[in-house]
C-alpha cells in the first residue's frame, strides 16, 4: 500500500513545477504537505493521484506504476478531495455521495438494480455517518453551508472506500470549528481504519498538531521531511516561507507556530534561486 514518487519532474506549459521529487508514503501514515503558494504542493498531490503524466520519473503504488492500474482499480485504492468544489445542479447529499460509488458499481447496474443494491446502500450510509452528514441526506447541496458541503465532499471520497486519501487544502474557507472537526475526522479515519492520509495544508500550527509527518515543498523540490517539530524549525520557516518564526510548545499537546515577516528583507522575490533557499 505504499504510495511513492520516484524522481518526479513535471512541467506545466514551459514552467517546471516539480523538479525530481522523491517521496514514499507508507500504509497508515498521516502526512501534511506544506509550502508557499506556487511551490508545487498541489501538483505533487495530483501527480501522486495519477492525474498528471510526469515528464520524467514515476509514481508507484505497491511497487507498481500507477499507469499499470486501470482507472477503476485505482479508484478502489485512492481518493482525492480536490480544491475546486464544482457543484452539480439539483443534487441531494445522498446523490452526491453516491457518485463516489461509481467504481464499485457494475456498468450494467444502470439497467439492472440487483444484488449490489444492499451493499451500495450500506457503503453510502457508512460514509455519510462517518462524516456526520446522514441527517442531511435528502437536502440539496446548494442549501448547505460551506462546512457541511466540505463534509459531504469528504463523504463522497470515502464512499470510494479508499486505502489512501489525498486532500488538497480541505480547510480553505472553513471556520476554525469546522477546520478542527474535519481534521479530527481525518485523525479518526487514520486511527480506526488505518487510512493513509496526505493533506496539503496552509496552517502550520494545525499541520504540526495533527500530522505526525510534515513535508515542506519549495520551488518544486522537497525542502524538509520528517516529524513536524523537526521540520518546522526557524531554518525551514525562513528558507521555505521567508518568515521569521519558530514552533512553540508551551501548551502541552497544543504546539503552535508563531511567525512574523522579515521587515528588513520584505517578501522574497519568487525568483530567488533554490540554491540560496537550501
Amino acid at each position: 500500500m505504499t504510495l511513492a514518487a520516484h524522481e518526479l519532474t513535471v512541467n506545466l506549459g514551459t514552467t517546471r513545477v516539480l523538479n525530481g521529487v522523491s517521496i514514499a508514503i507508507a500504509p497508515g501514515e498521516m502526512v501534511a504537505i506544506i509550502g508557499p503558494n506556487g511551490s508545487g504542493k498541489s501538483t505533487l498531490l495530483r501527480a501522486m493521484a495519477g492525474l498528471i503524466k510526469p515528464a520524467t520519473g514515476d509514481t508507484t503504488l505497491d511497487g507498481k506504476s500507477l499507469r499499470e492500474y486501470s482507472k477503476r482499480a485505482l479508484a478502489h485504492r485512492r481518493a482525492l478531495l480536490t480544491q475546486a468544489a464544482d457543484l452539480p445542479q439539483l443534487t441531494t447529499v445522498r446523490e452526491h455521495v453516491a457518485m463516489g460509488r461509481h467504481a464499485h458499481t457494475s456498468p450494467l447496474a444502470t439497467l439492472i438494480r440487483g444484488a449490489n443494491q444492499a451493499d451500495h446502500n450500506t457503503a453510502l450510509d457508512a460514509a455519510m455517518d462517518r462524516c456526520g452528514v446522514a441527517h442531511l441526506a435528502h437536502r440539496r447541496m446548494e442549501a448547505l453551508s460551506g462546512g457541511e458541503r466540505q463534509r459531504v465532499r469528504l463523504a463522497t471520497t470515502l464512499a470510494q472506500r479508499p486505502d489512501i486519501l489525498l486532500l488538497d487544502e480541505p480547510l480553505t474557507g472553513l471556520d476554525i470549528e469546522h477546520q478542527l472537526s474535519l481534521l479530527g475526522l481525518l485523525g479518526d479515519l487514520n486511527a480506526a481504519q488505518g487510512t493513509t492520509i496526505a493533506c496539503v495544508i496552509h496552517d502550520l500550527g494545525l499541520a504540526l498538531r495533527h500530522f505526525p509527518r510534515v513535508v515542506a515543498v519549495h520551488q518544486g523540490r522537497i525542502a524538509a521531511d520528517g516529524p513536524g517539530e523537526r521540520v518546522l524549525d526557524a531554518e525551514t520557516l525562513e528558507n521555505v516561507f521567508g518568515v521569521e518564526g519558530a514552533a512553540c510548545f508551551d501548551l502541552p499537546g497544543h504546539p503552535v507556530v508563531v511567525c512574523r515577516s522579515q521587515p528588513a528583507r520584505g517578501p522574497r522575490a519568487p525568483s530567488s534561486s533554490p540554491a540560496a533557499a537550501l
Binding site: L12, A55, K71, R72, L90, E95, M99, G184
Partner: protein, 347 residues
Amino acid sequence: MSVVAAPHHAPTAPTRSTRRLLTPAAITFILVLGLALSLALGAVRIPIAELWPILTGDGEGSAERIVLHARLPRALVALLAGANLAVAGVLLQGVTRNPLADPGIIGVTAGAGMAATIVLAAFPQAAHALPLAAFLGAMASAIFVYAVSWTPGGSGSGGTSPVRMVLAGVAVNAILGAVIGVLITAYADRIPAIMFWTAGSFNGRGWSHFWQILPYSALGLTLAFLIRSRVRILELGDDSASTMGIPVERTRVLAFAAAALLAGSAASVAGLVGFVGLVVPHIVRLAMGSNRLIVPISAFAGGALLLWADLAARTVLAPSELPVGVVTGLVGGPYFVFLLYKSGWLR
C-alpha cells in the same frame, strides 16, 4: 464539533416524491393524447374511436390511408425529433457544464443549416438529398468543433475542456452564420424556401423520414441512457471524476458524438427547430426538482412538445402551415418563463 444526531427529517420529501411520480405520468398522458389528436385532426377529421381499428389493421378507405401514410409517420417523426433534441440538450448541458448549452452550441445546427442552405439555394433540383446533406453538414461541423476544442496538453494526456468546447462552437456558429448570410443574399429568390426549412417543419414527412431518423435515435438515446451517470459525475470537475474512475475524455467524446447524432438526425428530418434542446431539460428538472431519470423523461417531454407543436402548426392557420419552431418558441417560451419565475432556481 460534536455531530448532533438530528432526527431524520426532510420536510420537502413527500411533495418531492409525489412530483417525481406525477411528472412522468403527466408527460406520458400529454404525449399519448397528443398522438391521438395528431392522428385524428386535420383537413379530414377522423373520430378517435375509429383510430384503433385503423392502427390494428381493420381500417378501410381514405381514413386508413390518411392515418397510416400521412399522419402516423409524421407524428412519429416529430416524436423522435423532439426526443433527440431534448436528450442532446441534456448531454451537452452536462458535458459543457453550461446550462445554456443546446445542440446549437456544438455547431450541429449551423452545420445542418449551411448544408441545407447550399442545397436549397444552389441546387434546388436536388431537394430530395436535403436530409442527407443536412445530416452530413451537422456531423462535419460537430467534428470540426471537437477538433478545434482539443488540445494536446503539456502534462497528462491531451483533451478538451468544457469552456474550449463552448467557445469553439460559438466561433463555428459565427462563421457558418456568415456563410449562410452570404448565400441568402446571393440567392434572394430562394429565401422563402430557406426560411421555411430554417424554422423547422414536419410538412410532408413520411415513412422514409421515419426510417431515416430511427437508427440514429435508437443509437443516440441508448448511448445517452448508458453514459448519463458518468456525464453527471463529470460535473464534479475533471480531477474528481477521474479519481473516481471515470474515463473523462472518452466520456466526453461519447456524449458529444451521441448529441451530434441525435441533433444532426433531428435537423435532417425537421429542419432547425430551436428551443427544444435548450429548454426541455430545464423544464423537466424544474418539474421534477431533480436530475433523476432525466434522459428518459426528457425524451418523452421533447417528443410530446414537438408532437403538440406540430399539431398546432398544421391546424391553427389551416390550410396553411406555421413553421414548427415558431410554435415551440411561442408556446414553450412563456411556459419556461413562468417556471423560472415560480421556482427561483439558478439564482
